[in-house]
Every structure is written in C-alpha cells, then in structure tokens.
C-alpha cells in the first residue's frame, strides 16, 4: 500500500486530487491537512511515501513546512503560483502541478514518481531546500522546538551562533536550533540588519549597545541583553562600515 498525504488549505483543491487518485487502487490517502502545522504532524506520524503540497497556506508555507522535516517524503507541488516552479524543482520535487491541472497531466506526474520509485527514490534533502531559500520572504524563520512549531520574526532575533551542523537562533525567549549553515542565514537575511561579525556569529545590529576593546586589536560586542560575543577583525571593519563610524 502506498501512503499519501494531501496538504492544501482549499478543500476543493484536495477533493480534486482525491478524485484523480481514485484510478490508483494501491494508493491510500492516510490524511488530509489544511495547513503546514498539521502537515508536519501527519508526516511525522504516518511517514507517507508521497505528499501533494500546496505552497501558499496558513501560518507556514509549503517550503517552510518541508524545512521542518528531518526526512521529507517525495513531494508533488500543487499550486496556482508558477513563480515557485524553479525553487520547487531545486527542492527536488517530483513534479509541479499548476492549478487547475488535467487528469492527463496529473497521471504524468504520478508515472514519473512511480518510475522513480522502482529505481533510486529521489529524496528532498536539507541542502536542496536550502537552495530554495526565498530571500524576499525571509522576514521570519520557522523552527521546531519539541513538538511545537515556532515562527520567529527576524527582527526578534538577537544573534545567530554556529553550532555543529546547526545554527543557534538566540531570542529573548532563549535559543532555537535550526539545521542550516551560517552562510545560508547570511545570504537570506537583510545584510543591513544582520552582520557576520565573526566566523561563528551573525549579529542583529539593532541589539548592539557597545563595542569594547579586549587586549590589543581584539574587540568584543556587548548586546542589549547583556550578552558579550566576540568580534573578529573583519567583523569589526564590517560593523564600522554598517554603523558609519
């Protein structure tokens, strides 16, 4: 039995896929979700083989939802937005169906997936999703803390710290972990607001209160929260340039 989950906020859009799937007897729809939060829960619980995923959805979009999964299943995107097509394929989506789509087009996508299943299954990995970064949408970061999903607006981030394969996102409520690289955040956050002040630190300049000297040529920054983080020589000159001093 092939397990499928449908994630779309429009009930009629889901019923459309459901109707098209009727001609595939060994496929069973284990759950339907109308938002990304439920989507993450359902995927973690059912471990489906394939999901049909909309992009524009309440709270978190389809890409943000995929980011939260450790081992994402195969994805076929279904959306009315053609501008995400390239990003979707970069995320190694099986296919990208533009609403409204015909049964023939849907069958083609299914055949592509079924053929791929016989050989090596294409999997969506974090690095693929990383390339899907939408700089224009990066005004928030979605993370998982335990079983909760937290949406962090970027202006509430104090600073980011490299932590093995993860990045620690420090906010006033403590830190969150996100499996990303520092350079990913450096690229996707607004460079006027976030400055890479050190190999391991990305600082929200709004949080800075003062730069303190530490030995000769070495500096440290003091944040509003009272935390002190190191400042490298290049970081120091970058910071000076941003602050205009």
């Amino acid at each position: 039995m092939i397990k499928v989950i449908l994630i779309d906020d429009e009930p009629l859009a889901r019923s459309m896929v459901k109707e098209y799937l009727q001609s595939y007897p060994d496929i069973s729809i284990v759950q339907e979700c109308d938002n990304g939060f439920d989507g993450v829960k359902a995927i973690t619980q059912h471990k489906p083989d394939l999901i049909f995923l909309d992009i524009q959805m309440p709270k978190i979009n389809g890409f943000e939802m995929l980011e939260l999964l450790d081992t994402p299943p195969s994805v076929i995107f279904t959306t009315a937005f053609d501008e995400y097509a390239i990003k979707a394929f970069e995320a190694h989506a099986i296919d990208y169906l533009l609403k409204p789509f015909a049964k023939e087009r849907f069958d083609k996508a299914m055949q592509k997936w079924l053929a791929g299943r016989q050989s090596a299954t294409p999997v969506v990995t974090q690095s693929f999703i990383e390339s899907v970064a939408q700089p224009e949408e990066r005004n928030r970061v979605v993370v998982k803390k335990g079983s909760n999903i937290v949406i962090i607006p970027v202006h509430t981030i104090h600073y980011l710290e490299a932590f093995d394969d993860y990045v620690k996102i420090h906010t006033k409520d403590g830190f969150y972990l996100k499996k990303k690289t520092m350079s990913y955040f450096e690229k996707t956050l607004d460079p006027k607001e976030f400055v890479r002040i050190h190999r391991s630190y990305l600082l929200n300049v709004q949080e800075l209160t003062r730069i303190e000297p530490l030995e000769k040529d070495n500096h440290i920054v003091l944040l509003k929260s009272g935390v002190r983080i190191p400042l490298s020589a290049t970081g120091y000159s970058k910071l000076k340039e941003i602050l205009g001093i």
């Binding site: 906020d9 009629l12 524009q56 309440p58 009315a80 937005f81 928030r140």
Partner: protein, 346 residues
C-alpha cells in the same frame, strides 16, 4: 479665426510698419516738408526696414541665440541696412517722389540724411533680432511646460491603468481549480460559480478610473468576489458588509475595494488557522465616504511593513486620483488589522 489673424506675422509686421511710419512722418515733417512728402518718405523708408526685419525674424527661428549667430545677426543687419540705404533709397525714393509735389531741396535732404537713415535702420534690425529671440524663447518655454504636463498626464493614466490591472491571476486560477473539482461532484454549484466568476470578471474589465461608481455597485461587485472566495475556502471564510443608505449613494473609483478585501482575506486566512470574518463597513464623515475593512491577524508572527501588507498600490492609486497621500490608513490593534480609505465626495 480672429485670434489667428492677430497672431499672424504679416499682421504684426503691418502694425510695426505703420507705427514707425507715423514716427518717421512726424520726424520728416519737423524739417518743414509737407505731410504728403513726409508720409511718403517715412512709408517707403520704413517699408525697407520692415521687409528686412521680416526676413531676419523668419531666419532667427532656426538660429538660436549663440555667439556665432550673434555675429551673423550683426553682419546681416549691417549688410542689409547698407544695401537698403545706400543702394536702393537714393534711387528709389525720387522715382516715387516725382509723382507728388516735392520741394527742390528734398534731394539734398535725402543725401544729407542718408547716414542717419542707415544707423536708424540698422538699430531697428537689431531691435527686431532681440525681440524675435525673446519671443521664440518664451514660445519654447510654453511648449516645454505644456509638453511636460501632457507627458505627466499620460504617465499618470498609464500608471493608473497598470495599478488597476493588478488583479491577482492566482485568484482566477484557484477559482478555476475549484470549479474543476466541483464539475463532477456538484455540477450545479460548478455552474453557479462559473456564472459568478463571469459576472465578476465582466465587472473588472473596461473600467476607467475617472468614471466613478456608486458604493452600491462596488458592493455588488465585492459580493460576487466574496461568494467565489467562500466556495474556495469553505467554512473558514465569513464576511459581513454594513453600509447605510447615505453611504451607498456615494461614489468612488471602480475596483478600489476589491484589492483591499483581497488583501484582508489573504492575510486573515494565511495568518491564522481557524475561521475568520472579514468586516466591511461604510459610513459618511464630513463629506467623505469612509470604508473600513477589518481582518484578524497574528501580532506575534506578522510584521506589517510601511503601510503594511501590499496596500501600496491602492495608496498610490488614491494619490494619483485625488493628489492626497493620507486617504489610506492602516491600524493594527490587538489581533485586528484595519484598513480605512477615505473618498472625498464633491
């Protein structure tokens, strides 16, 4: 017709000739010549200058003021003045004068005054040149001002029509997708939605910003839009519209409310998970129609930037029509986002 007669150069130069002829007649008369002799002398002399001046004026249209053209004008005016005074006047004038009773000393008067005539003629040509240049300069300025205002008007119209056409194509595609889903399961509903979608689309085409519509009409169009969106989003979307009789008769640019409501639905639906209600209310406030659209939002996760949530194009449209930047206001309070527009009623 009449004004073009006054504007024609022939008319202007006829006046010019007449004016200087009068001056010249009086001047010659002072030397004790009869009015007839004085007039003939002045008229003929002035005819020369006027013809030369006319040619100069015509030539200067294509010779803008510059050091080089200034020298050209000097050379031309001296040459023409010299030819007219020294080569034509001494021989031409007696030919005419012999038809009237001319005193004997006239010929020596003509001879004695020839250099003065040359200087006066030359000065007059320089004067014509100065006036022509000033004239053409003013004319060009006026043309530039007019062209600039025309260009601005064109740009404004183009921008307005472009802003109006920002109906999200996603709305159309998603609606078609819903219809596609309904065709098999609920064909009657599919047919109804096609009808609503067609009526809605018909309402969006062929609209001119300067042709104001009543709020009543705009609400009718809005209701079609909301009905379609409700089929798409099911139970999650509710709406309420309140408008009193007085406000319903007010006028506003067409299709102004739809993008605001579209925006409210988008942020209401995408920012929360449960059911949402979009409230639209209209009222009159000292000669302004005031329409507010409210939608719920999550203050913890959304960051309205600037006027907030892509309302810039509506604000811009209002500015282009009413030249007022304060007609669109937004307010985020608790978890309700309110967009308010004011439409001046004349």
């Amino acid at each position: 017709m009449k004004s073009s007669t006054f504007k024609s150069p022939y008319f202007k130069f006829t006046i010019w000739w007449a004016f200087w002829t009068i001056v010249g007649t009086i001047l010659v008369h002072k030397f004790n010549y009869s009015w007839a002799v004085s007039f003939t002398d002045a008229a003929i002399t002035q005819l020369d200058w006027t013809i030369a001046g006319y040619c100069l004026n015509a030539a200067l249209r294509y010779m803008p003021p510059s050091p080089k053209n200034f020298v050209n004008v000097l050379a031309f005016s001296i040459t023409v003045a010299a030819i007219f005074t020294f080569a034509i006047l001494p021989y031409g004038m007696p030919l005419v004068m012999k038809y009237i009773n001319t005193p004997l000393n006239y010929e020596s008067f003509l001879e004695d005054s020839i250099f003065v005539r040359f200087v006066i003629g030359w000065m007059q040509l320089l004067f014509v040149a100065a006036i022509s240049w000033m004239w053409y300069f003013l004319e060009e300025q006026q043309q530039n001002v007019k062209m600039k205002s025309d260009t601005e008007q064109l740009a404004r119209d183009a921008e307005l029509s472009q802003l109006r056409q920002q109906l999200q194509p996603h709305f159309l595609f998603n609606s078609l997708n819903s219809i596609n889903a309904l065709v098999v399961s609920q064909p009657e509903l599919a047919r109804k939605m096609i009808q609503q979608l067609s009526d809605f689309l018909r309402g969006t085409v062929k609209k001119d910003d300067r042709q104001l519509v009543t709020l009543e009409e705009e609400i009718r169009q809005l209701s079609l839009y909301l009905e379609i969106e409700k089929v798409r989003f099911g139970y999650r979307l509710r709406s309420e519209i309140t408008a009193d009789e007085e406000s319903r008769k007010c006028v506003l640019p067409p299709l102004l409310l739809q993008p605001i409501v579209e925006n409210a639905i988008k942020f209401g639906l995408y920012d929360t998970i449960g059911e949402i209600t979009i409230s639209i209310s209209a009222r009159m406030e000292d000669k302004n129609l005031v329409v507010s659209v409210k939608n719920p939002f999550d203050p913890d996760t959304s960051i309205p930037k600037g006027t907030g949530f892509g309302l810039n194009s509506i604000s811009r449209r209002l500015y282009l029509i009413y030249f007022n930047n304060t007609l669109l206001q937004t307010a985020a309070e608790n978890s309700t986002f309110t967009t308010t527009i004011k439409i001046p009623q004349l």
